[in-house]
């Protein structure tokens, strides 16, 4: 434990960098997955292709991808961008399926009703389909968030900043506490971000948590007021 207290600043710094890189990748994968998932759900033959490619891509070991990506895309091996791009691609591979499944779970009747009451395609997508797909999207995003945060440690192997550096440094200098600290902080970050997503989901989708009767009445009132 002495090592941990003596190096608290260092650990905190690595944790914050780790969080920043992971969050960038998580947000990017969500933003990119929405249009791709929408297209996959809209164009039937595309769905199989997109999901197969995503599945195959997901089987590529992360460390190997970090080495190969720079030649294909053309940036430095040890740059933060390399890690963020790799993590975004993995997140995307998972998230596209969630978006496609979520949009597919919206009842066709609901979609038709929305059109019937005058929603344009764009409005219907953002105001009807996305909110209804919300719980599935959130479930997918939670998986993406947790695995991205844990996966980001692989960057440490080639010297990319973040909690992974605690592993390589701890191994080289035989500091057991450093490795344990890295593992613990990664798990803590994952749990915190996951909890934040759950709270965000409750705030954005108050209807999705199986409300009690009283809450349902309250929800109806809020809905009526809005």
């Amino acid at each position: 434990m002495t090592w941990v207290w003596a190096n608290a600043d260092f650990i905190l710094d690595k944790t914050l960098v780790h969080l920043q890189l992971s969050l960038t990748a998580i947000v990017l994968s969500l933003v990119l997955a929405v249009p791709i998932g929408w297209a996959a759900n809209r164009v039937a033959p595309l769905r199989g292709i997109v999901l197969t490619v995503a599945g195959l891509f997901y089987s590529v070991p992360s460390f190997a991808l970090l080495v190969v990506l720079p030649t294909v895309v053309g940036y430095g091996l040890r740059s933060d961008t390399n890690l963020v791009v790799a993590l975004t691609l993995y997140g995307l591979a998972l998230m596209v399926r969630s978006v496609a499944d979520g949009l597919a779970s919206v009842e066709p009747d609901v979609r038709q009703s929305a059109t019937a009451v005058g929603y344009s395609g764009w409005q219907r997508f953002w105001r009807v389909e996305i909110p209804l797909a919300g719980p599935v999207l959130l479930a997918g995003l939670r998986v993406v968030a947790v695995s991205t945060i844990s996966l980001a440690t692989v960057g440490g192997l080639i010297g990319i900043n973040g909690l992974g550096l605690l592993f390589t440094d701890g191994l080289q200098r035989y500091i057991l506490e450093e490795i344990v600290a890295g593992i613990v902080m990664t798990i803590v970050l994952a749990l915190l971000v996951d909890a934040a997503l759950v709270l965000l989901g409750r705030a954005l989708m108050p209807w999705s948590r199986g409300p009690s009767r009283a809450e349902r009445r309250q929800g109806a009132l809020v809905g009526a007021a809005a």
Partner: protein, 245 residues
């Protein structure tokens, strides 16, 4: 892109195709690790998963375990065991087994859970004993999902075994780390390409096996691409495909 050609040249170089550091040996090491770790994990996880799936007991623990492992950084686990137990091939194998167990467990129990309750009731009302229900109904119907779990576990071990080369475990990761230390990017790239090829070949093989083990006449257990996935079809997709890295 030039580097890619150089790396392919490196792989094709006859000097790298034989001997204790040759590509065939390193690939065999990599595959052996994967086979041993997944076999050991299955030995523990399949009976446990079947028990959970059949009785429904301990499900909460199993779900928490399989979800929680996703947050566990595999690199940290491998390094921690190496520091605790020393350099060599035993600590990495233990790490691989630990990381592979949750996927196999999830495949085993979710395979049983995906079996329609009505089917099991029908089997029971026809006079099947519990043992027969497990052996003749639940196991065959849950097989595609179990294979899916083993598939996730295998890919996880292939990925983790790459990293384990840094603690002296051998395997294809050896090239990547040697290249990293000596600034030999071509060798790193060659090692990475080999690992990716192994992973993708295994993925395709497993996907095919998974499709083949669906019992004749059953479509519910087959991974579907239905536009409106029902609960059943969603349950039949690869469990825990997430987190295989």
């Amino acid at each position: 892109m030039n580097y890619l050609l150089d790396a392919l040249g490196w792989i094709a170089d006859p000097a790298h195709l034989s001997g204790p550091d040759g590509i065939p040996t390193r690939m065999a090491e990599h595959l052996l690790y994967t086979l041993v770790a997944v076999a050991l994990a299955s030995l523990v996880a399949i009976p446990a998963g079947y028990l959970i799936g059949h009785t429904g007991k301990g499900r909460t623990v199993a779900v928490a375990l399989t979800g929680g492992v996703r947050a566990l950084p595999t690199v940290g686990v491998v390094f921690l065991l190496a520091l605790l137990m020393g350099i060599g091939s035993t600590p990495p194998v233990i790490a691989f087994v630990v990381l592979a167990i949750p996927s196999v467990l999830a495949g085993a129990y979710s395979g049983f859970e995906a079996v329609d309750r009505a089917t099991i009731d029908a089997a029971r009302s026809m006079g099947m004993t519990e043992r027969q229900i497990v052996a003749k109904v639940e196991v065959p119907l849950g097989l595609p999902l179990l294979i899916g779990g083993i598939r996730s576990a295998t890919l996880q071990v292939v990925a983790t075994a790459t990293v384990a080369a840094v603690v002296g475990a051998g395997g294809l990761g050896t090239y990547i780390f040697r290249g990293l230390r000596s600034n030999d990017y071509v060798q790193m790239l060659a090692g990475s390409i080999l690992v990716i090829v192994v992973a993708i070949v295994l993925e395709v093989v497993f996907a095919t096996v998974q499709r083949l083990v669906v019992p004749a006449g059953v479509t519910a257990g087959r991974p579907t691409d239905s536009r409106a996935p029902t609960l059943r079809s969603r349950a039949s997709e690869t469990p825990l495909q997430e987190g295989t890295q």
